[in-house]
Symmetry: C2
Subunit: 300 residues, 2 copies
């Protein structure tokens, strides 16, 4: 195993303009690991309560996700409630109940410590830093975060940022972090702080990947009906890093571009249904077909 | 000559977060014709007052733009004042003084009536319709409009829309026109109303071109400093239609894609300086080089 993902497993209550779902399975780690599982066999690190459905754990195992790093603790699973506006990019967090996640002290199983790719999905930056002290020279460290930590734990976050190679952010987050409206400038500012790569997720407008001598734009799949935007960003990172886990040279620009397209492809699938449902029927063939569609979409 | 452009020639007063320019030359027709002039010799139809600078008219002629359709009338040139926010897509119109444009009755010179491509840039839809009654079977009719007309002259506008082949809009306009938030759905709704092609301009996020069996996404050039966003949309249309004017088969999808990229290239240049300044030094070589950069930007 060479990709590990540290993130949340959660119950999400989701309201869109058209529909509502109560306490369906979600979480940054869940989405990311499932997306990555189409390319590699990722390990997941996180915590759930005793109420977390066994069938979801079975589904993770079925998708060959390594769950040695998944702790089950007495108590309730993290619960998050959000509402989306007509524009799927507009999201309001209604409620956050951390529950067992509150005092989670991530401990990597020994077999995870020599992982090649480490992804710090959105969790408290102090927890992210703690994880980094437990890994042994990974080939690539990636991170994600949210506005909450940028606002509340800026110093901790900047400390982690210095140590990572790849920073995933959405446009709003990178603007908040850098104080730059212009995304190219914002990306460059992040590159000055440590990472050699930045991937800016822009929802329906796709994503922008920046690095030394690299600016790459990937579109979002033209989608007429976003059923549930939750997990799109995590699935983007999962597709990106899962694909990259098969590549020998992690600095190969051509492969980084392809990784970003696979990220966008996975994100485009997950939003077609609520929660992780779409991953239950998704096939590698569908993923590859859509990858080819992405090529047609931009070729001239 | 086979492309004619009916639009405004104006004085613009522009305020950006960093700078301000009083009464510099602008106008949808001016921007569009100049952008198109790198590919073809467009004709322009519009009206200016006696205060319009002779040197601008000389510059249009120098760029081989046919000005037979340009009327000079007693009175003042159309004056528009706008302010941009930190986000170049946020624009507030401060003042609109129509002046000689108020009662402009566009009359096409006889030599313009058999034009192959007719572009109705943003003017009153009744004036657009009047133009269409004066042309003889053009190969392609394109139009642009703004929220003002969508709100105030919806019926007139829909009547024109039925008669055109290509509708240029920005994301805000097409959403207002169709009542659809999702741009793919909005595009399809427009395609049901007459046009066989829709080009949705999305500012820093590029553009989307939709037609029968065609969805094409073009990025915006990654630009760190937007000096003045004015005229980007008009230059997009000018580059698009100017390029297309050299193409025999106006329904060739490959060429439509390339036309959209050239549109995006021209738009990316014009915003590098205030008003039409950038066009004064721009060369076809720079345009072709940036076209190649666009290819690198999306290739994977």
């Amino acid at each position: 195993m060479s990709l590990i993902i540290i993130g949340s497993l959660a119950f999400d209550t989701i309201e869109t303009p058209l529909d509502r779902r109560e306490r369906i399975v979600g979480g940054s780690g869940t989405y990311c690991a499932l997306a990555a599982s189409f390319f590699t066999q990722p390990g997941i690190v996180g915590v759930v309560g005793e109420d977390f459905p066994e069938e979801t754990v079975d589904f993770l195992k079925e998708r060959k996700i390594d769950i040695q790093g998944l702790e089950i603790q007495p108590g309730k699973t993290f619960h998050w409630e959000a509402r989306y506006g007509d524009d799927p990019n507009q999201r309001t967090t209604v409620k956050t109940e951390l529950n067992v996640f509150q005092d989670f002290k991530p401990q990597l199983p020994p077999s995870y410590r020599k992982s090649r790719i480490v992804f710090l999905a959105n969790i408290d930056p102090d927890q992210q830093d703690e994880i980094l002290s437990q890994v042994h020279k990974p080939g690539l460290i990636a991170m994600d975060t949210i506005n909450l930590w940028i606002n509340q734990k800026r110093d901790s976050l900047l400390k982690v940022l210095e140590k990572v190679d790849l920073y995933f952010a959405n446009d709003e987050e990178i603007r908040l972090l850098t104080g730059e409206k212009n995304l190219i400038k914002a990306g460059k500012k992040v590159l000055e702080r440590g990472p050699s790569l930045v991937a800016v997720k822009k929802g329906e407008h796709g994503a922008l990947v920046m690095g030394k001598d690299l600016v790459f734009g990937v579109l979002a799949h033209p989608c007429e009906e976003v059923v549930d935007p939750t997990g799109a960003g995590d699935s983007f990172a999962g597709g990106f890093l899962g694909y990259l886990d098969n590549i020998k040279d992690l600095s190969n620009k051509k492969e980084i571009r392809r990784a970003a397209v696979f990220g966008s492809v996975l994100a485009s699938f997950v939003i077609e249904d609520f929660g992780i449902n779409r991953f239950k029927t998704l096939s590698l063939k569908e993923i590859k077909d859509r990858f080819d569609e992405f090529r047609k979409l931009v070729s001239f």
